[in-house]
Point group: C2
Chain length 236, copies 2
DNA sequence: TACAAGAGTGAACAGTGTTCACTTTCTGAA
DNA sequence: TTCAGAAAGTGAACACTGTTCACTCTTGTA
């Protein structure tokens, strides 16, 4: 299992790694600019001065290559969220920053983010059609980012800011969904944040913060103080 | 402009329309089951007993055909949301139902919904890189569904339930993003609603309602009654 | 130096969307 | 009823795609 022990790293190994890196970085360059559809094996081969079939000596398939790009992106995303959640600021600011950072990072690399959620069905490893293994999920950077959200919810509850009756996991998922939704809409509709021209011009950043604010507000202790998670209800 | 005046509809027109419909319905059948990747022109041609090139006499391109499927889906979606928003129920129930209906309808036809938001950039018609024309946007079913959300927010404000300081358009967009996010995650991660096995089993429907609840809660008048849209802030 | 493992290649396969010259069918007017 | 012209439908081809495979060439080791 000691795959990267320097004592066993031969020149051939380093050469191979360098070629592999050149493929990845060319792929990253093309992918960031034009996305999955602009990235063809033949084009990639052209860019790195190899034949198309050579690439298959390094990656089993195009999908496998792209998976690597996605995973690297998610690691960046995780690092950023982690930074936001552990910054030295008041809790609610940190909570909002988590959501805003998530959306912002996604929008910065739209193709990466979109691709990560593009394949229906096997987006996460399944085990026999049943619920996913939490262990397995937590080991991916996607899962770890989600873990940060869960901790944030529980922290908010301990601080008596968030509704204590909320299930932290469910609340975190809800927060994730809210963040994901804005990220996707901003990516797929470039002018989403200023859809209505009558409205005064607004930067995407401002709308992201507005949205983060609303998402976090949904978790606050309800106005009536009952804390049972149900809405006031029967009005109107 | 009287394109469908019966008096001018010849047998040839009806025949043409029938073939066109057969293409669409075959496409719908395949697409609903296998999505965009399973839908090839040659396969479609096989299913309706025509040659592949014949299809190009009815549709300019594969994308054009798929656009028609998407538009039909969005009309269904709009109708359902409209129904939820105008049902004879207390306001907050209607508000939550709008979100839940949106997500539920999307999840029912995952490929349609996913496809509608799959293409980066030109998801909505642009005019010269500037903000979108609101007029143009409102004529699409996607835009109309959004209009329903805006009305709902303003109604909530008039009823003194929602925070009056919120911009209704922005709040509606936020609500849209929240709904969209859950829809996408449920579609792309089939077990999203029960990611954590330790958690007691939960139907997707229940999680949708939980999420709808949180989304709507975010719009309520803040606990402190200040109504200026800012969060309590400096705690922790 | 010989040999085996690995790196790299070009041609081919089975797909894809799309086009175009071509034939067949149909329709409306002389 | 005939006949020109339009429309409907076709098959072959083009330019792509991801992927495979037999093959050569290079490299490291015994």
């Amino acid at each position: 299992m000691q795959t990267d022990s320097p004592s066993e790293e031969t020149p051939a190994d380093r050469r191979r790694l360098r070629v592999r890196e050149s493929i990845i970085s060319a792929a990253e360059r093309v992918f960031a600019k034009e996305g999955e559809s602009g990235l063809s094996i033949r084009r990639l081969a052209d860019e790195i001065d190899y034949s198309p079939s050579a690439i298959y000596k390094y990656f089993g398939s195009k999908d496998e290559l792209i998976d690597e790009l996605k995973e690297a992106f998610f690691e960046r995303l995780l690092a950023k969220i982690d930074g936001s959640s552990s910054a030295d600021r008041p809790f609610l600011q940190r909570a909002k920053a988590c959501v805003a950072t998530y959306v912002d990072t996604a929008v910065t690399r739209p193709f990466h983010y979109a691709a990560a959620f593009s394949s229906i069905k096997h987006a996460l490893p399944e085990n026999g059609g049943g619920p996913l293994s939490w262990d397995g999920f937590v080991t991916t950077s996607k899962g770890q980012a989600f873990g940060v959200l869960i901790s944030m919810v529980t922290e908010g509850q301990e601080l008596d800011i968030f509704d204590p009756s909320l299930d932290p996991v469910m609340a975190a998922k809800s927060l994730w969904a809210g963040s994901h939704g804005l990220a996707q809409l901003l990516i797929h509709m470039p002018h989403f944040h200023q859809l209505v021209p009558e409205q005064q011009p607004m930067a995407a950043k401002d709308f992201i913060e507005f949205h983060a604010d609303l998402q976090v507000r949904g978790l606050l202790k309800p106005a009536d103080g009952s804390g049972n998670g149900s809405l006031p209800g029967q009005n109107s």
